[in-house]
């Protein structure tokens, strides 16, 4: 990806913007000048949860799973999403059943892809997908406990 000063400013679209990775990406982008990134479109099911403030940020709160692609596109149109150049995809829904996990997360990405094609298929240059697995607090406590036990045992 070129970041030379001669290239025109980029427009980011972040799916899953309220999460751990989305938040980090927003913070990273707003640190850069508006010559690099002049518009940051954030999408999440939940309303804006972030501490980041920047006039380049537009926030869309929409339930992707239960909205049609056209409904998502309409929201993107409202924030002038026609010039998106770079997409960052971080959405994830947890399901204990493997088939359901596959199905639901495929739908999330598919709707994001279809919406991107409709709104800015020709201006998009790159699409970034992050893989990972979400674990909540209990595992951290488990790790801390194990480490603590090891420390106690060693001493």
């Amino acid at each position: 990806m070129s970041s030379s000063s001669s290239s025109s400013p980029r427009v980011a679209c972040i799916w899953g913007a309220n999460g751990i990775s989305g938040t980090a990406m927003i913070d990273l982008l707003i640190e850069q000048s508006s010559n690099e990134w002049n518009h940051i479109i954030c999408i999440s099911r939940r309303p804006f949860q972030l501490d980041s403030k920047d006039n380049r940020i537009d926030f869309i709160s929409i339930d992707i799973l239960h909205s049609t692609t056209d409904e998502i596109v309409t929201e993107l149109e409202k924030v002038n999403g026609k010039t998106i150049t770079d997409v960052f995809h971080y959405t994830y829904i947890e399901k204990s059943n493997e088939d359901e996990l596959d199905k639901v997360n495929k739908i999330l990405l598919e709707k994001a892809l279809d919406a991107c094609v409709k709104i800015s298929g020709k201006t998009i240059q790159s699409f970034s997908l992050q893989t990972g697995y979400k674990v909540r607090t209990r595992l951290i406590f488990f790790i801390v406990e194990v480490n603590l036990c090891t420390v106690l045992w060693c001493s």
């Binding site: 751990i20 997360n105 495929k106 094609v117 240059q125 970034s128 997908l129 893989t131």
Partner: protein
Amino acid sequence: MLKLIYVQYYGVHKGKEDLAELPFVEDAPRHTGANFYFTQEDLLKDYAEKYQWRYIITRPATIIGVAKG
């Protein structure tokens, strides 16, 4: 809320028989059994080829952080 993200791509959440070969390397063949990231990867590849986008798929190891809500 504290959260962890780790490399589900290599099947670390699955039984031993489905785990990718160690050590995990980027160009290793896919592990046996299903993984929704394979579905997503194939989907993204198709769109990227069709619409001539560059694409990148990241596989972070453990990310520890805080998320609200």
